[in-house]
Structure formats: structure tokens, C-alpha cells
Amino acid sequence: MNIVVCVKQIPDPATPGALDGSTNALKREGKLILDESDGYGVEMALQLAAANGGGDVSIVSMAPNGEVSGMRTALAMGAAKGVLVSDPSLAGSDALTTAKVLAAAIKKMGSADLIIAATESSDGYTGTVPEQLAEVMGLPSVTFAKKVEITGSTLKADRQTESGYDEVECPLPAVISVTAGVVEPRYPSFKGIMAAKSKPIDTVTAGDLGVTATGWAGAGQKVVQVAQAEARKAGEIVEDDGNAFNKIVAYLENLKVI
């Protein structure tokens, strides 16, 4: 069973995000880290591969500046190898272009039985790439998968819905997107971290993959305005002296909620 996990390397969410003044794109300078949401996909891939007779877990990522530190985290968890699509022309790519690039990279990697992604990234959160990837590759997909099992060449998953979940059956190869919390991502061991340093990451350009019209030119969209939203007025902040609950009661009474 060969599984490919799509991962994104993003600016550390702990530091406040900022937009580049000239392009209005999210600033991505400095060290990028593995998107926390992707840890679940990597973990699920490792578990599914182990439960289905082994096989390789590979990772694929797209980043404009040759960044691999987030990919090393996934390799340290146990993935065997990675492909990074890195090309200055990819800066400003929209989700559709991203899906086309990832699809081309995955095809180049050989035959994948299963492709796993997170439901959306924690920085751009467009949330359409996994399903677009499936469509580009002509594959079925199960998005928002919570529980995933594979028997032979059939995948069964519980898919999150508005009112609960659907039990879905899907033939492989397929694309799935997994929600956070489906599995507990393992912490890379020291041995894993050391081993990850020598695992292969193949870096390719969009041109190598035969994908054109990338970046700003291919985006089909253009930021025309960035404005500050109206801020909420500062409220009353009180330290609890043992009676603060009365403040809440008075507040709710004033609103006639109680």
C-alpha cells in the first residue's frame, strides 16, 4: 500500500500573521513549520500502511522558497521520503493551481493507492485543495473523514456532515481529507529526527512537472483592497473576588435573558 500525504509548511501560527505590502500575500519569510493539521494525515497514513501490509508513506509539499523543515518533521514521524515542488513562479498560486501542481507531483512519484490531506490549511484555509486534487486526478474522494479503514482495495470512512456523519465506501485509489483529532499524531523520537536528516527529499520545479500558468499569472484573482475591520468596543474586565458571578447575573438580567 503506497500512501502519499500532502502537507503544507506554514509560518508559525504562534506569531501574528502579516500581509506583504506589495503583493497582499501572506508573508512566508523565515522558518516555516509543518501545519499542525497535517500531523493527523501523516499519522493516519503510517497507521493505515502498517495495518495493510506495510508499504511506503511519502509526503508531497509545495513551497516557494525551497523550505523543507516542516517536511523533515513528517519524515521524523516515520514517512519514508518526500517531494518538494519549489519554484519562485509558484508564489501567489491559487488553490486550483496548487491542486494541479500536487497532482502532477503525485503522478511523477509513481502509483499511489491513497492520497491523504488535511481538510484545510491553518494559514490560508481555502479548504478546496483535496477535492480539487481528486478531480484533477479523476479519483473519488471522501472529505472530512473521521474514521478510516481499508479492506483490500476498498476504503470505508465516516464522513462528517452538518447533522452527524455518513458511512461512506470508496474504491481505491482515492483521495481523503482527514479532520483534526481522528488519530493522535506521534511525537518524533530522537532516532526518528536523526533518521529524517538523511531521508530523501526530491526538489522539483513546476516546469519539471509540466505545469504552466502558475503563481500570480494563473490565479484568476487579484486582491484589490485590504482594510481593517471595525473593532469591537472594549468591554469591562473584572478580577474575580469571589463575587464576579453576580456581575454575570446582573449583565444577563439587563439583557432580559434571565
Partner: protein, 322 residues
């Protein structure tokens, strides 16, 4: 480019469209009189209600027979567009089905998608959509640069639904072409997770709990308070990921967007992910030990204190008042 016609991907059950569908129809008819609803399922039962909110026509696929809506509905939409009826813009709700369909359709049409929007306008820059970023502190307006149909998704509650008093819409069949391998996933069974009390995204009062509760057993405090206030219990992503409560409780970017009269955040620090889902609440009360917590930046009343003390006191008092 002027907007000549808009499609709205419409959802509903038992002849009742979802509130989100009615919100999008209301917005669509403010931009053009040529509004069409597109239903992945039975259209006849929804035609009256969709017409009332501004749709003049309803394309309906009929029962999908267990197919997932993503491949099936996008293929049906593409077939109608190829047949000559091509709208200027297609509106989708930012939810599971909406995202799957718009993503598949974007590939079929080779068009970009703008997601997570709260507004759309026909301007000198063309068709522009507005999305909040950085937890809603910054609004980015983006123009579509290519030709239509423009694909756009909206967050729930971006617009207020208002009836137009329109007549029932005309129903036109839009059959699903063969979707091949891409459409091979099948729904085996549907599970509804019932919750008692008002729905999270419709409740007048929402009480949400977060990591500050310390352990899953303490979530009962949140449920008790919600019940006493006739509200719905909610949760931050942190405790949903930790498995304390089901995903359906999650308020935030990847969960539900709520705009209740009163929102009480108990032991929630206020990560961007969470704030996006509750900042639109009319009144916000926050209880948190850390006075530097970002949640206090949006709170109308902030209590710097221990939820394990404040919540039981509040619950006891409300109980004693009956």
C-alpha cells in the same frame, strides 16, 4: 463585468430550505433579478420556498442515489453550463457539500474559487468578494480577473434572510452525467447525532467550554449552564480534538459560526480559529484565568477568574432562582 445571473447551490430537507440557502438567495436577488437555485436532490418540494426568497428557476438533479454530492452535483452543473445556460456567479455555502461541489466544479470549469467570504459586490474592479482574515481583524477584498462563471463560497450568517414574497420557482431537471471513477464513492448509511435543546447555530444563548475546564468531566458545567439559560453548549477546537465532545459542538473556523444574543466563553483563550466563529455575537461574556487571553479583547464582560469557581456559583444561583 456586470452580474446578469446568479445560481445559488440550495440545500434543504422535507420541503424546508436551510437558513443558509435563504441567506444566499436574499443576497443574490439584491444583485440581479435573474436568480436560479440548484438543488442536489428533489427540487419540487423546495420550489415554493426557494421562489419565496427570490429564485425564479430551480435546477434539480433528483435523488442522488447514495452518490456524494461533490462529483455528482458539479457534473450536473457543468452539463447545464455546457448546454448554454452559464451564470455570471455561483454562490455556495461554506459547508461540507458546498466545498466539495465548488472544488470539483472549479476544476471542470478551470476557474478559481474564492472561499470564506462575507460579502460580494459588482464594482469598478469587477466582481469582488470580501473575506475576513487574521481572526476577522482584517478584511481583504479580492476581484475575479478571468471570465465567469465566478465561483464563491460564503460563511454562514453573512446575510440576513428576508422573504421576497415571490411565487414558486419553475423546476427544471438537471440530470447527473456519468461521473466515472471520480464518482465511485457511495454513502452506505446516514447517522444523525441528536442533541437536545436549541441548535448551536440558532440558539439565542451559547455557552462554550475550552481547555481551561481542565478535564472532560468538567464539561458538564458548560452543559448545565447552557440548559439553565435555555441555550446550546459549544466548544473550542482544542477540546473537540481532545475528544471531550463531538465535532458538532465546535465553534470556530472549522466548526460552526454562531451569532447569538449572548455568548459565554468559559476557559477559552480565544485562538483565531475560535474567534472567527463567535465574534459576531451581540454580547460576549468571557471567563478565563489568564488576564492576557485574547478572548478578553472581544468580551463585553470579562471575568478574570477560575471557571471551576465561577461556573458552579453561577449555576447554583440560577438554580435557586428556578
Amino acid at each position: 463585468m456586470a452580474i446578469n445571473s446568479i445560481w445559488v447551490f440550495a440545500q434543504g430537507t422535507g420541503g424546508v430550505p436551510t437558513t443558509g440557502t435563504l441567506e444566499l438567495l436574499t443576497k443574490a436577488r439584491s444583485l440581479t433579478s435573474n436568480v436560479t437555485a440548484f438543488v442536489g436532490g428533489d427540487g419540487a418540494s423546495l420550489a415554493a420556498a426557494l421562489g419565496e426568497y427570490g429564485a425564479t428557476k430551480v435546477y434539480a438533479t433528483g435523488d442522488l442515489g447514495g452518490k456524494l454530492p461533490g462529483p455528482a452535483v458539479s457534473a450536473a452543473m457543468k452539463a447545464v453550463i455546457d448546454g448554454g445556460d452559464s451564470p455570471s456567479v455561483i454562490f455556495f455555502p461554506q459547508n461540507y457539500e458546498g466545498r466539495d461541489i465548488v472544488a470539483r466544479l472549479s476544476v471542470k470549469l478551470d476557474r478559481t474559487v474564492l472561499t470564506n467570504n462575507i460579502d460580494l459586490a459588482d464594482s469598478a474592479d469587477g466582481v469582488v468578494a470580501t473575506t475576513p482574515i487574521f481572526g476577522g481583524n482584517t478584511l481583504v477584498t479580492t476581484a475575479f480577473t478571468g471570465s465567469g462563471p465566478h465561483l464563491v463560497t460564503f460563511r454562514p450568517k453573512s446575510f440576513a434572510a428576508e422573504s421576497a414574497g415571490g411565487a414558486a420557482a419553475q423546476v427544471v431537471a438537471a440530470s447527473v452525467p456519468d461521473t466515472g471513477a471520480a464518482g465511485a464513492a457511495k454513502v452506505l448509511s446516514v447517522h444523525v447525532e441528536e442533541s437536545s435543546g436549541p441548535k448551536l447555530d440558532e440558539a439565542d444563548v451559547v455557552v462554550s467550554g475550552g481547555r481551561g475546564l481542565g478535564e472532560s468531566g468538567k464539561y458538564g458545567l458548560v452543559e448545565d449552564l447552557a440548559k439553565l439559560l435555555k441555550g446550546a453548549p459549544g466548544a473550542s477546537r482544542a477540546i473537540v480534538d481532545a475528544g471531550w465532545v463531538p465535532y458538532s459542538y465546535q465553534v470556530g473556523q472549522t466548526g460552526k459560526v454562531v451569532k447569538p444574543n449572548v455568548y459565554i466563553a468559559a476557559g477559552i483563550s480565544g485562538a483565531t480559529q475560535h474567534m472567527v466563529g463567535m465574534k459576531g455575537s451581540k454580547n460576549i461574556i468571557a471567563i478565563n484565568k489568564d488576564k492576557e487571553a485574547p478572548i478578553f479583547g472581544v468580551a463585553d464582560l470579562g471575568i478574570v477568574g477560575d471557571v471551576h469557581k465561577v461556573l458552579p456559583q453561577l449555576i447554583d444561583l440560577l438554580k435557586s432562582r428556578g
